[in-house]
Symmetry: C2
Subunit: 454 residues, 2 copies
């Protein structure tokens, strides 16, 4: 049956790719209300896939925000384990548009890659899961029960998913969750992520004069809000790259000697990072190696800045306001709730009296760790060994996945984090791409994974 399923997958690659391209044409940008109809269309596309797989109880279920697509197959019986498969149908905004070689929602194959917004993060990963299940089911029977949870708010923090999971504990009950949103470390470096950083995302707005002023007629007597913002945000790091929010490191778990050795084995090092990013030199806490700074240490990043006149040419304006988007990546045992308090405390202590400020907490998630003894991790590890011929690595990574924390909290279900996107896939950047040979390997891996769970 394994061989039959693998043959099925191999024979249907052309159709799988065509279906992936189809869903990639839908600009399902969750952060932009103008794209709500596209969100609905993407959800319907997913539901229709589940139905054609023979899933039961397929529903597009409302949340406080974008809907969740649910479907299940419980035909393996009560004695078999139930595996949840997680996915998200929303994508990041595609801007800056001018840097895309081909338009973000017109999927284009060049060389071994498929280019489109969402190709890697994560419509390609959802398709790999759907097509692995299809291959297994069309070739005999699925050895485990399956529940699908495909949300539409991952790129904006999965805020409404928390309530959704809490309110549907029975429906969603499972042994563990396969989450293919984390990617692997390289084309030839299969990996299962055992740690994820959390997130706390803020928008900080500084207000000065009631309106934009002439910088000549008023400059020298008014604290420029753009300057005040820069002073505040620049002060959020010290000279060694440490975050200065009061108490920020108090709950940060120390990296053990064993963990340090694991981090040392990871391929993410000075050389690879310099190559991937193109920066003249790396930056960060000097007492930690780069993979630790990404997987084991918290950060504070400026994600966006806006104030005054930003067009071509010049305008001698003293702006009325300035805005920064700022997000912290959190590690065990930090929490978004404490980070909010620390940020507020910093601003209360440091903000000068000659400006006004407003801090908006946009969204966040706690950090997470999964044991290498989890049965899903073991099954996926064996599957990777079958397909790649080597044992996977077990990194702790820098990204944040809200659902991982929520499933742990409400269902006591750990997540098996992996996927088939590569580190240079440009998720969140222009020219996002999916490496197709790895995508097909991913389908094979998941076919093995299901049989390993027998």
């Amino acid at each position: 049956m394994l061989d039959k399923a693998l043959s099925y997958a191999n024979e249907n690659r052309g159709r799988f790719l065509a279906e992936l391209k189809e869903v990639l044409t839908i600009p399902s940008i969750s952060t932009d209300p103008d794209h709500n109809p596209d969100m609905q269309q993407a959800a319907e596309w997913m539901a229709s896939q589940l139905r054609s797989l023979g899933m039961d109880n397929v529903q597009i279920m409302p949340t406080g925000g974008h809907p969740v697509v649910y479907g299940e197959w419980m035909g393996a019986g009560k004695s078999a384990p139930t595996v949840m498969i997680y996915g998200h149908y929303d994508v990041q905004p595609p801007d800056p548009l001018e840097l895309w070689t081909t338009p973000p929602f017109e999927p284009s194959v060049r060389g071994e890659n498929l280019y489109a917004r969402g190709a890697a993060d994560m419509k390609g990963q959802v398709l790999a899961s759907l097509k692995a299940v299809e291959s297994v089911m069309r070739s005999g029977t699925m050895p485990v029960n399956i529940k699908w949870l495909i949300e539409g708010e991952e790129e904006i923090g999965s805020d409404h998913l928390d309530d959704f999971i809490k309110n549907h504990k029975e429906l969603l009950a499972c042994e563990f969750c396969l989450n293919p949103d984390a990617g692997i470390l390289g084309e030839d470096l299969p990996s299962i992520t055992t740690g994820l950083r959390g997130l706390a995302y803020f928008e900080l707005r500084v207000y000065g004069p009631v309106k934009d002023l002439h910088s000549g007629l008023f400059g020298g007597t008014v604290h420029n809000p753009a300057q005040a913002l820069m002073e505040l945000v620049a002060g959020m790091h010290d000279k060694n790259g440490k975050v200065t929010l009061p108490g920020f490191y108090d709950k940060v778990r120390k990296i053990s000697k064993k963990e340090h050795r694991d981090f040392l084995r990871l391929p993410m090092n000075k050389k690879s990072l310099l190559e991937m990013t193109g920066v003249p030199a790396l930056w960060g806490e000097p007492q930690f190696i780069p993979s630790e700074r990404i997987g084991g240490r918290p950060t504070l990043e400026v994600n966006g800045l806006l104030s005054g006149f930003t067009g071509t040419g010049s305008k001698t304006v003293l702006p009325a306001w300035a805005m920064a988007k700022i997000s912290c990546r959190l590690v065990p045992d930090q929490t978004p709730e404490e980070t909010i308090k620390q940020m507020k405390k910093y601003l209360k202590e440091k903000a000068p009296k000659d400006i006004k400020w407003e801090l908006e907490y946009l969204h966040g998630a706690g950090p997470a760790l999964t044991s290498t003894d989890n049965p899903g991790v073991r099954a996926l590890s064996q599957a990777m060994e079958s397909v790649w011929g080597k044992r996977p690595l077990f990194p702790r990574e820098g990204g944040s996945i809200g659902v991982v924390v929520q499933l742990q909290k409400h269902l006591k279900a750990d997540s098996v984090l992996s996927g088939f996107a590569l580190p240079d896939c440009d998720a969140h950047s222009p020219n996002e791409k999916l490496h197709l040979p790895t995508f097909y390997k991913g389908i094979d891996t998941l076919i093995h994974f299901f049989y390993n769970l027998k």
Copy 2:
């Protein structure tokens, strides 16, 4: 003849306003190449006004940028003085558009004010000059020779005007230049500006990774360019509001005791500035009074900021670049050339090695002072006394007017700086307005001015 001219002006107010509204509908935004056709239309409108006044030799003369409108009337003869009248037909960009009550290029009278981009800065002032000359010429003869110099690049630094004046020294030769671009200090506070700050306008760009990165996957190992920019620009002021560019204050002329007394007489004080700006508290060098900080001290202002994701919602991006528009206001004896060197020196000393930076100098002008003994200043001072019933004040102001420096340099002609725009006119801001009663007083004042020059 004076009375006849004043009556003429009074009787024709309705038509003057209609003509002003007409020119205010032209969006002559010099900084935006998309508006080049509007620039041409505004220049033609000015030339047609000069012709209808009976000016000779009216020409739209090319420069390296937007053209200059020239016209002259030399009928007063060689023994009479020649007065240049300066104006500019370009305006600032109108954004942010959403803050305008009525559209910026659809002039609208509400109460005593006319609202439109350019109403105060400075199409209204050019109209007042045109209509004063018209009133005098239609009521007898003009006692002085007149030359008009109406440029199209004031709002972008008058860069090409410098060459234009240098190349047309004979054509433009004059005793002094009436420049009504400076405004007065209040509805009941006529004033002639005897000092102006200079300007050096920069765009600073900081580059980090070759493309936007996922802040989770790379954050902690790459110096975020938005953060690096903030660190650099925040460091351009110390805690007391002093600019830290090396040598910035070396050439700044000390404010004498007499000048300090003049500054004290000005109505620009803590109370008025708090009212006009709406800030919670003033800011600036504590050892100087507010009017000195504006008129007698140099500044460095952030005019614009842009980096990363600035739309609604969140995007967890580590941006590839960040940009700040920064301008310095200069006082005697600073020069833009030295300021460029100081800015470069600062950046070379302070910029970290893990980012790249680019500094572009966009434009600038030196600072200027005019004596209260200038015959034009005396004639205008008497005219103001006739119309307002009080002697004007003689402030030194914070704005920058490139042509003032250029006329002094090439023609040895000082500028008589005044005008009829009020401090709350919102030049460069949304809802720019011209106070119409003061505009009409301005026409009367200039009629007196010409007869005072006899």
